[in-house]
Each structure stands twice: as structure tokens, then as C-alpha cells.
């Protein structure tokens, strides 16, 4: 069995609580069950060392959060849930190398990694949650242009890397 990474475990549990809580408050019990089943599968799959399971958890939780937003569940909880799912996925990757010998340089890597992950995802969460409070009316045409510009830049970025 893969060694337990307490940070990844904590982040995933928080994501599950936030998503399940959001769906629970909205009265959509199907969503709660989906979140809990996914979490249980993640625990079960750790026995078999399925390296792809954290990625599946991230995609499914993000999908569940997006579906929640579209079905009028609290967007703040859904965004926080998906951000914690991202943190859990990233920290689970750090856990993949836990069998390696502990050295000063490895400990330095783990500390720096944890710090940057929490800072970047935390800042992103803060900006996203603040954005929910600000209501700006953007015409659809401009929105389409902005979205296309973002997608094009992502595509170009992907090609250049």
C-alpha cells in the first residue's frame, strides 16, 4: 500500500466535505453520494497502488463542482471544493516518492513544494471567492472574445512548451 501523505489526505477530505456539504445544503443527495463514493474508491484504490486514481479524483470532483454550480448549489463551496481537490492531487504526487530515503535535500524539496502549492492554490481560491462577490455585467460578445483569447493563449502555450 502507498504510504499515507497526511497533507494530500487532508486536502482530499476537505474537498469531499465541502462538495458533499454544498450538495447537502442544496438538498441534492445524489451529489453527496457521488462525492462519498468517489472518496471511498480513492481509499480502496490506494491498496492496489493505482497511480492514476488521484487524477481521476481531481477530474470527477471538478466535474461534480461544475455540475453543482450549474444546478444552483453554493458556488463558493463548489469552488473551494475543486481547489482543495487540486491541492490533494498535487500533494498526492509528492507522496508517490515517500519510499525514497530521507535526506536534507529531499526534505527541502518537500517543504518548498508544500509551501508553493498552498500559496498558489490558496491565492487562486482567494481571488476566485472574491470574484464571486463582484458583479460585473459583460456583454456576451466581449465575454466570447475574452474566452477565445484565453483558450487561444492556452493552446499557444501548450504548443510552445
Amino acid at each position: 500500500m502507498e504510504p499515507v501523505n497526511k497533507h494530500a489526505l487532508g486536502a482530499c477530505l476537505l474537498a469531499a466535505i465541502l462538495l458533499a456539504g454544498g450538495y447537502g445544503l442544496g438538498g441534492s443527495w445524489l451529489g453527496v453520494w457521488a462525492v462519498l463514493i468517489m472518496m471511498a474508491s480513492w481509499f480502496a484504490c490506494r491498496t492496489y497502488d493505482f497511480r492514476w486514481m488521484p487524477s481521476v479524483l481531481l477530474i470527477v470532483y471538478t466535474g461534480i463542482a461544475a455540475a453543482g454550480i450549474l444546478t444552483t448549489v453554493s458556488p463558493a463551496l463548489m469552488i473551494a471544493g475543486s481547489a482543495f481537490a487540486l491541492a490533494g492531487w498535487e500533494l498526492a504526487d509528492q507522496g508517490a516518492g515517500q519510499g525514497e530515503p530521507s535526506t536534507a535535500l529531499r526534505n527541502l524539496y518537500q517543504r518548498e513544494h508544500l509551501k508553493l502549492a498552498l500559496m498558489s492554490i490558496g491565492l487562486g481560491l482567494l481571488v476566485a471567492e472574491s470574484g464571486l462577490l463582484v458583479q460585473i455585467a459583460i456583454p456576451f460578445g466581449l465575454l466570447l472574445l475574452i474566452a477565445l483569447a484565453v483558450l487561444l493563449s492556452l493552446f499557444l502555450f501548450h504548443r510552445s512548451s
Binding site: I79, P101, T103, L105, R106, L108, S120, I121, L132, S161
Partner: protein, 426 residues
């Protein structure tokens, strides 16, 4: 860009498209943590990568079962590397006893990272050219794969099987002092004959009894000269003859026999050379002493069974690589048509001793005990007996070696076989 970055990009693109389709700003907000995560990775990716590596092994030659420690050191001469993944390569059969083959760490500028592991392995050459590493940002999103040159090699020698010092009596010897009786008068310990005294002969060797019978003459005792012999070891490493049984290969026994014979013959004071017919023709020129033994053991350690080799490889071996009048000790499980190759060796004037690990006995235990298999084994045994008989008829000394028996048990048979052949040829 790594698979991780691609996944995050996919999620971000999906969220933006969903936001656009549903005209829901919250979905676009949900993509922000992902975008900032990507941005942090991009900003933290290493710029000036200058890494150097060295690899060292605890011993250049090891016995089977001996642990070898490999130490990798990676020096960073550029800017700090946030995430360095060392991915050491394994060789087949390597058994890691201690340490890890992978490590993920941060390597600050002007620092050195060290990875150490201990392994055991079967006979063979373990050589490394490079160390594969992945350099990336802390999240592993934007990675660069590098192969840092760091050469090292170690040899695990064939298993040592005990074989006493062998004094065989080959037909031809060199005019150098050695362990073999040359059937010529000279310096030695075995009595050879008596001749008339010549000025310069030592008084210690005067045969007093004959001298007493002939009052006007002196007689001198002669001894049989002891000389060094030229011995060539010919190892057959064709995959077609060296059968596999589970994970065991008949070639292992052949290499062990070759190593034991080389050790024994060199210790006795002979001049030994080696030719391996395997992946390529490997040659060790004739030589004596411990350095020659080390050369032979090194080549035997590297020897692998060859699939690529033509069936007729043995027929066309460059036999002239062996010095004229050598005794050739051929170690081969034999194919049915190999008698022609041995006939060629004999025709070239070499004295040949064939040590043949028995492939039928080696494989027989693999087959279930039934009428069909016992008939097949019997037929194979008959074929092999006929082949060995044909080879013996050529004046070749043959030792049929069942590999479950120790080779030392057959040492006397080898000596007798060569001696018998020498007497027959005389």
C-alpha cells in the same frame, strides 16, 4: 510539458468552455486556482541548468553473491533546480539489497546530491553510460529530461567451482620450463635414461652402477624435460546449443567450467588462451599467470548466449587464432553436426579435448514422466552417444559432463583422456 500540465490545461479549457456555453461566471472563477497553479509552476521552472554527474562502484570485479555499492553524485553548477528526479537504470537480474533507484529532491546551486544503492546480481557485465534525470519546477509541470554522462562498469565473475591444479600431458609442448612432461631428455625429476658422460655434465647425475660395470667409461642419468604447453579454451556460447531450463542456462555451467579450467591450467604454469563463439568472437591472446587469469575471467563474465549467431558459426571459427600444436579444450554441449567442426580442428593438427555439458540430462527433468518423453529422451541420448562416438573416432578426448555432478569428479577423466590420446598419437 508534462502529463500533469496537460491535465490541468484540459480542466481549465473545459471550465472556460462550460462557462461560455452556460454564460455562468462562477465556472470561469473556478478555473482561477488552476490558472494560478500553472502560473506558479511556470515562474518556478529552472532557467540555467548546468548539471554534472559521476558514478562510482565499490568494486570493479565481484564474485556472485557479493554486494556491490553504486554511488551517484550529481553536482549543480548552475542556478537552483527546484525539482530533480534521479531515475537510475536497472539491469536484468539486478537485485537491490539496499537503497533506492529513484530520488526526488531540490538541488540548490553549487550543491551535490548523492544516491547510493547496493545490489547483487548474476554473472555478467554491468555497465552504465548515463544517468537519466528529470529537471522541472516544484510541481513537475514543465519538465526537461536529461541524460547526464556518468560512465562506470563492474563485472560479476563466473561462480568458482573447485578444481585441483591439472597436470595434463599434451602432445606438444613449448621449449619453456613448465609442468608437462615433454618426452625429451632435459631438466626434470622423472627418470628418462642413461647416456655416456659428456664434459660439462654434473657429477651428481653420474650413473655409478653402469660406470662400475665399464671401468673406462662414465655414464650420466637423464631426466624427462618438463615444459609449458599451449592450451586454448574454446567456449561455445551459441543460444542453439545452450539450452534454458527455467531461469537456468546451460551456458552458466560452460562458463563455470571454462573459468575453473583456466584457473587450474594457469596455476599449473601453462600458457592459456581463450576464444568465445558468442554474440561476437571474443579472443584472449595466449598468456600466463594471474594477469592472464583476470583477462580470461573478465571475458567469461561478459559472455552472453547469442541468438544472432549462424548455425554454422562453429564450422567457420578462425582456428588459426590458436597457436600451432596447441591443445584445444572445447567446452560445448554440441549440436548434431558439430563433429565436422571438430574434424576441422583435428585436420589443422590440434590436439582436442572436448568437455561437453550434457544438454539431455540438463533438460530431462523438465519433461513429465510418460512413455512419449522417456522415448524422446532415449532417442536423444542415442543420437548424442553416436555423435560422441564419431568424435572419439577422430582421436578427440571426450568428457561427457552431466552438469548436476561436480566438474572436479571428471578432472581425472580429463587427464587420462588427454594422456591416452597423447600416447596414441606418439
Amino acid at each position: 510539458m508534462s502529463a500533469k500540465a496537460n491535465l490541468v490545461l484540459l480542466v481549465v479549457a473545459g471550465l472556460f468552455l462550460a462557462a461560455l456555453a452556460s454564460r455562468n461566471g462562477s465556472l470561469a472563477m473556478m478555473a482561477l486556482p488552476f490558472l494560478l497553479y500553472l502560473l506558479a509552476g511556470l515562474l518556478a521552472s529552472p532557467k540555467d541548468i548546468r548539471l554534472g554527474a559521476t558514478r562510482s562502484v565499490s568494486s570493479l570485479r565481484a564474485q556472485p553473491g557479493e554486494s556491490i555499492t553504486v554511488t551517484l553524485a550529481i553536482q549543480n553548477e548552475g542556478s537552483s533546480v527546484p525539482r530533480l528526479e534521479i531515475l537510475e537504470q536497472t539491469r536484468s537480474g539486478m537485485l537491490i539489497r539496499e537503497g533506492s533507484l529513484e530520488q526526488r529532491l531540490t538541488l540548490p546551486s553549487e550543491k551535490t546530491a548523492e544516491l547510493r544503492y547496493t545490489f547483487q546480481g548474476p554473472r555478467g557485465m554491468y555497465a552504465w553510460e548515463t544517468i537519466p534525470v528529470i529537471v522541472s519546477d516544484l510541481f513537475g509541470l514543465f519538465e526537461q529530461r536529461l541524460d547526464l554522462p556518468a560512465q562506470a562498469q563492474t563485472l560479476i565473475l563466473p561462480e568458482q567451482i573447485p578444481l585441483r591444479r591439472m597436470f595434463i600431458q599434451p602432445l606438444h609442448t613449448l621449449c619453456t620450463v613448465g609442468p608437462n612432461l615433454s618426452r625429451l631428455p632435459g631438466i626434470g625429476v622423472d627418470f628418462w635414461g642413461v647416456r655416456e658422460y659428456r664434459p660439462g655434465d654434473s657429477l651428481r647425475w653420474i650413473h655409478w652402477r653402469n660406470s662400475a660395470r665399464h671401468p673406462q667409461q662414465f655414464f650420466t642419468k637423464e631426466f624427462e624435460r618438463e615444459e609449458m604447453a599451449n592450451i586454448g579454451l574454446l567456449l561455445d556460447a551459441r543460444a542453439t546449443t545452450n539450452l534454458l531450463r527455467g531461469e537456468r542456462n546451460l551456458l552458466e555451467y560452460s562458463t563455470q567450467a571454462a573459468a575453473a579450467l583456466a584457473r587450474s591450467l594457469l596455476r599449473a604454469g601453462n600458457r592459456v588462451s581463450l576464444l568465445i563463439v558468442g554474440e561476437r568472437m571474443v579472443r584472449v591472446f595466449p598468456g600466463t599467470g594471474k594477469p592472464q587469469l583476470a583477462r580470461i575471467l573478465d571475458r567469461l563474465a561478459e559472455c552472453e548466449p547469442s541468438e544472432k549467431l549462424s548455425f554454422d558459426a562453429l564450422k567457420y571459427i578462425p582456428v588459426r587464432l590458436f597457436p600451432t600444436n596447441s591443445l584445444i579444450i572445447m567446452i560445448s554441449p554440441l549440436r548434431l553436426d558439430d563433429d565436422q567442426s571438430i574434424a576441422r580442428l583435428r585436420a589443422e593438427g590440434y590436439q582436442v579435448l572436448l568437455v561437453s555439458p550434457d544438454p539431455i540430462q540438463f533438460c530431462a527433468s523438465e519433461y513429465p514422466r510418460n512413455d512419449t518423453s522417456s522415448l524422446a529422451i532415449r532417442a536423444a541420448r542415442l543420437e548424442r552417444a553416436a555423435l560422441l562416438w564419431r568424435i572419439r573416432q577422430m582421436g578427440v578426448a571426450v568428457v561427457d559432463w552431466p552438469v548436476d555432478q561436480p566438474l572436479s569428479k571428471y578432472a581425472r577423466e580429463m587427464r587420462r583422456a588427454v594422456y591416452g590420446m597423447t600416447r596414441w598419437n606418439r
